[in-house]
């Protein structure tokens, strides 16, 4: 009897462990690294820990770290630059460059990464600040002088010799003023402005000599405009997210918030001006799309565009020219893309694409090194607005557009869809990316497998969502295999008041559920185990998150496990007539990953109750912590700054110069730390209509170094790096 009891207990315990654990040990095929890459690592600007060399100065109380310290030491130190008068911080210096800067008494040193440390154009800035911006001169050549035709000014002795002997053009720039008698409170004498410096001639009457000295331009500018030289306040580690409101509100328009318009609009994250900081494009229905240029320190400059009535947005380099474009699907018009130049989004229709689409996804689907795109229509809305004309014109469906030399070549996969999401997981684990399209309104999700004979429809999922709202591919249990998460509508809170709000709508929208119904009105998490896909969302407690739209994974606390954030809420006069304001107000949900076994809701300040639609996760201030941007309906867009400061991380940026898919969309990055493998993929768009940053982020807990990074490029070739530092951005470049 005792033996039987013991056997029973052991069996029960094993079953519980099996039920509670989502983690499987990773058994990966061997990788043969064949692609040589260039690697650069950059420490986070606002990283909590700093392992680089640092020297502090009691004279001013500020410290200088490498690489600026090395530049300061190697180029004259105090006599040339003076003492530091600020911390290092990210600043937008001009329209073309934003990056780490540090102010000194006589200079502003700028860390341009691979281009090295450069001096700021303080001469230009000082003249502008004095209200007399430089204008081209009309000097003529004279003996003992050198005329610079570039600016029209001549430099004469003794300034000329000093200029020539101390770095010339590189250090000083061109002259931008003539020589004249300058005055300050304590001194007056001959001065001349150069782009980066001001030279002063100080007379020593006792010795009857004169000495050329550098003006304290840094101190002067900072004294007049202290904010320019002050590091923006960095949020202390507060174990929460800090809200920053953005200058954009998505509006449904005067017709009001009815089903379809109330679906709102997406957003996209990406670097539009190549300054190293992630910018934001915010979609809109009845109003302009906004472009928010990241100035650093959670300061964004908003630019309104001429684009509106937008659904999905992505920031991708669609043509491989090294410059990201903004691509948008529109409700009743063909997709467009726009190039960001001179603070203007110049729009062009997508070539060879003539239908109005809703969802889109970007991937190199034919292995030619160019980014292709999958578009899906939202037939229910089109039918309501256009009636039978929609079907008479050929209806909708899912289309693959392959990039060609001149535009795109389309292939229709089917002729019906209510597509809200597109993803490219490898469904049958044959090494090829397949297509998954998530559909709304009880329409089954659609899967096409890549085969030698073309796209072959498949139904690998035994249970799915009923109304797929968003979809994302991620490895949530560090088993080096990707899971597929889809959002749906299911009340998270089972309280009676919540259920009373939901029940009238559920009775209208939710199809009666039978025992063998493959579609459940709840979130799904497809996990590949033992050769089949199983929906484990309920087991891992992420099946219900409310009326959910965009849901994405990210390791917010850098503990090595990707957490889940989902934005919620619905506004619709025709659905919620029984609720005041006709709005189902729900807090967004943040689920903390419990080592892959389950998810538990946490309150880190992200429980925003605005009616979220588009949402993406990215590191906007380059501190190694993932922030969140949300584009709700009828409320101001917001970005949430992460101040959790709990672990270390690494960010990986891929640059593939050997193909036109420069950002290596579709590549897989595996970060090895000890026995743990963190796996990420580069995506252009995921969740609900929301474009992703191409930079991948990996939280590594308290690890002090990375053992190995393996990159599997979109063409299947691999690269491998050994021993990399943490709390850095690692740029891996393939091809020259």
């Amino acid at each position: 009897m005792a033996l039987l009891l013991r056997f029973f207990i052991v069996c029960c315990t094993s079953l519980m462990l099996l039920a509670c654990s989502g983690v499987q040990s990773a058994v990966l095929p061997p990788i043969q690294p064949s692609v040589v890459v260039d690697v650069t690592t950059t420490a986070y600007t606002d990283a909590v820990t700093n392992t680089t060399r640092t020297q502090c100065f009691d004279q001013t109380g500020f410290c200088v770290s490498d690489p600026i310290l090395a530049h300061w030491e190697n180029n004259g130190g105090v006599s040339v630059f003076g003492y530091p008068i600020s911390d290092v911080f990210v600043s937008r210096v001009d329209a073309n460059w934003t990056g780490p800067v540090q102010w000194f008494e006589r200079d502003r040193l700028e860390d341009h990464g691979n281009a090295g440390v450069l001096s700021g154009r303080l001469g230009v800035a000082a003249l502008t600040q004095q209200g007399r911006p430089w204008v081209p001169g009309a000097d003529v050549a004279a003996d003992g002088c050198q005329l610079f035709a570039e600016t029209g000014y001549a430099v004469c002795e003794p300034f000329l010799s000093y200029w020539q002997q101390n770095g010339g053009l590189t250090r000083f720039g061109y002259p931008i003023s003539g020589r004249y008698i300058g005055q300050s409170d304590t001194w007056s004498g001959p001065v001349q402005y150069f782009e980066r410096r001001r030279l002063e001639l100080h007379a020593d009457t006792a010795r009857n000599t004169s000495t050329v000295m550098l003006g304290n331009l840094g101190s002067e500018i900072c004294a007049t405009n202290a904010s320019e030289c002050t590091k923006p306040p960095v949020q202390a580690c507060a174990n929460t997210f800090v809200r920053h409101e953005l200058a954009h509100t998505t509006s449904a328009g005067p017709a009001g918030d009815y089903v379809y318009t109330s679906n709102g609009s997406g957003l996209a994250v990406g670097d539009l001006n190549n300054d190293g900081l992630s910018d934001i494009a915010l979609g809109n229905i009845d109003g302009p799309v906004s472009i928010l240029i990241n100035q650093g320190g959670f300061s964004f400059t908003a630019h309104q565009t001429t684009l509106s009535d937008v659904r999905a947005l992505a920031i991708v380099d669609m043509d491989g020219d090294g410059q990201n474009e903004v691509v948008a699907t529109r409700r009743f018009q063909r997709p467009v893309y726009g190039s960001w130049q001179d603070n203007t989004l110049t729009l062009t229709d997508m070539p060879d694409v003539y239908m109005a689409f809703y969802a889109m996804g970007w991937h190199d689907l034919n292995g030619d090194g160019r980014l292709d795109v999958v578009f899906g229509t939202y037939d229910t809305e089109q039918l309501k607005e256009q009636g039978l004309i929609f079907t008479q014109r050929g209806g909708g469906g899912v289309f693959v557009y392959y990039r060609t030399d001149t535009g795109y070549r389309g292939e229709r996969l089917n002729n019906q869809a209510d597509a809200l999401a597109v993803a490219f997981p490898d469904i049958n684990h044959d090494g090829l990316s397949d297509i998954v399209v998530g559909n709304d309104f009880n329409r089954r999700d659609m899967i096409w497998l890549a085969t030698p004979r073309g796209w072959q429809a498949d139904e690998p999922f035994r249970q799915t969502t009923e109304n797929t709202m968003g979809m994302v591919v991620a490895d949530i249990n560090n088993d080096a295999m990707f899971e597929i998460f889809a959002t749906d509508m299911k009340p998270y809170d089972q309280s009676t008041d919540t259920m009373a709000k939901w029940l009238p709508v559920m009775s209208k929208l939710t199809r009666p559920l039978t025992a063998d119904d493959p579609q459940y009105p709840e979130n799904s998490l497809q996990m590949y185990q033992n050769g089949t896909w199983d929906d484990r969302a309920y087991d891992l407690q992420i099946d219900s998150s409310g009326w959910s739209w965009s849901g994405k994974f990210g390791d917010f606390d850098n503990d090595g496990w990707q957490d889940l954030y989902v934005v919620n809420g619905m506004i619709a006069k025709d659905l919620f007539a029984h609720i005041a304001e006709k709005e189902l107000v729900e807090a967004n949900m943040l689920f903390h990953n419990q080592r892959g076994a389950r998810f538990v809701p946490v309150d880190w300040g992200l429980n925003d109750t605005s009616s979220g639609r588009g949402m993406s996760i990215a590191d906007f201030n380059n501190d190694g912590r993932l922030d969140v941007v949300i584009n709700p309906l009828n409320d101001a867009a917001v970005v949430y700054e992460n101040t959790l400061c709990q672990g270390k991380s690494v960010k990986v940026k891929l640059v593939d110069n050997s193909t036109a898919n420069k950002a290596a969309v579709g590549a897989v990055v595996r970060v090895h730390v000890g026995d743990t493998i963190y796996t990420r993929t580069v995506t252009a768009i995921s969740g609900y209509l929301s474009g992703d940053d191409a930079m991948v982020h990996v939280g590594v807990g308290q690890a002090t170094s990375i053992d190995k990074i393996i990159v599997i490029w979109p063409d299947g070739n691999a690269s491998q790096l050994e021993q990399q530092p943490v709390d850095t951005t690692i740029t891996i470049t393939r091809g020259s």
């Binding site: 009676t496 008041d497 009373a500 009666p512 039978t514 219900s544």
Partner: protein
């Protein structure tokens, strides 16, 4: 235990040979009313109720005979076992409707429960609990009886919780003006989306995803509640009656 001098046997509970004529007439009348109800396009549960009502006089007489010959305790036991068995049939029908016939969840409501699943099961379980308490108090005391009492108490507690939630939700719907929206079928304490599965108290523990207990749909949860209840009741009754095997049994016919 209150008991007569004659030994009451388990099989006598279902021994309706003496009431065949009553049963035939009753079912005929019930069927007639069911036919009329069908003509009037009344719901299926109304027709079922008529047929069941037709069988009641026969069973009432049967119970009365047991009462006169074996005492109230045996009559009460007869009522309980028969009622619980019928209720089990109701759940089997639900199970078949959902799992075999693949009816939608809200339609797979058995025979009578379609009237109002919450009220039918709430009242039924309270009736079972009260009778069980009386029987235990009257002498039905063995390990299976105590277990049955605990099981029934827990089952009734869940139905009470369900009734509370049902009423609360109806009130909330009334406040919202959403009249006519059904609030039946919400999760209870156990099962998928139930309190145990979603409570903050259990969310971070293995308890919240115990296979079956927090994963089964409500229909299955209550099917197994009733399987357990019926088996324990039969076991408890058999154990009790077998104590007096030596006493001769008098046929009811």
């Amino acid at each position: 235990m209150v008991s007569s001098t004659l030994q009451f046997r388990f099989r006598q509970i279902f021994d309706l040979r003496a009431e065949v004529v009553w049963l035939m007439y009753g079912l005929a009348v019930g069927s007639l009313f069911a036919y009329i109800a069908a003509q009037q396009k009344m719901p299926l549960w109304v027709m079922a109720a008529f047929i069941i009502a037709g069988a009641l006089p026969a069973y009432a007489r049967h119970t009365y005979i047991i009462y006169t010959r074996y005492g109230w305790w045996s009559a009460l036991l007869t009522m309980l076992v028969a009622a619980q068995s019928f209720h089990g049939v109701e759940h089997v029908v639900q199970w078949i409707q959902y799992h075999i016939l693949r009816w939608p969840f809200f339609r797979a409501s058995g025979i009578i429960s379609a009237a109002n699943a919450e009220w039918v099961h709430f009242l039924w379980n309270w009736m079972v609990l009260i009778i069980m308490i009386v029987l235990v108090k009257g002498g039905l005391r063995n390990w299976a009886a105590w277990l049955m009492l605990a099981w029934t108490t827990a089952h009734t507690a869940e139905h009470t919780y369900l009734m509370y939630r049902y009423q609360q939700t109806l009130n909330e719907l009334a406040v919202l003006g959403a009249w006519g929206t059904s609030a039946q079928g919400l999760p209870g304490f156990f099962g998928r989306d139930g309190w145990l599965a979603t409570s903050d108290a259990t969310r971070d523990t293995f308890v919240c995803r115990l296979p079956g207990i927090t994963t089964a749909v409500r229909l299955d949860v209550h099917f197994w509640w009733n399987v357990g209840e019926t088996l324990l009741l039969i076991l408890a009754t058999s154990l009790q009656l077998n104590k007096q095997k030596s006493t001769p049994t008098e046929p009811l016919v």
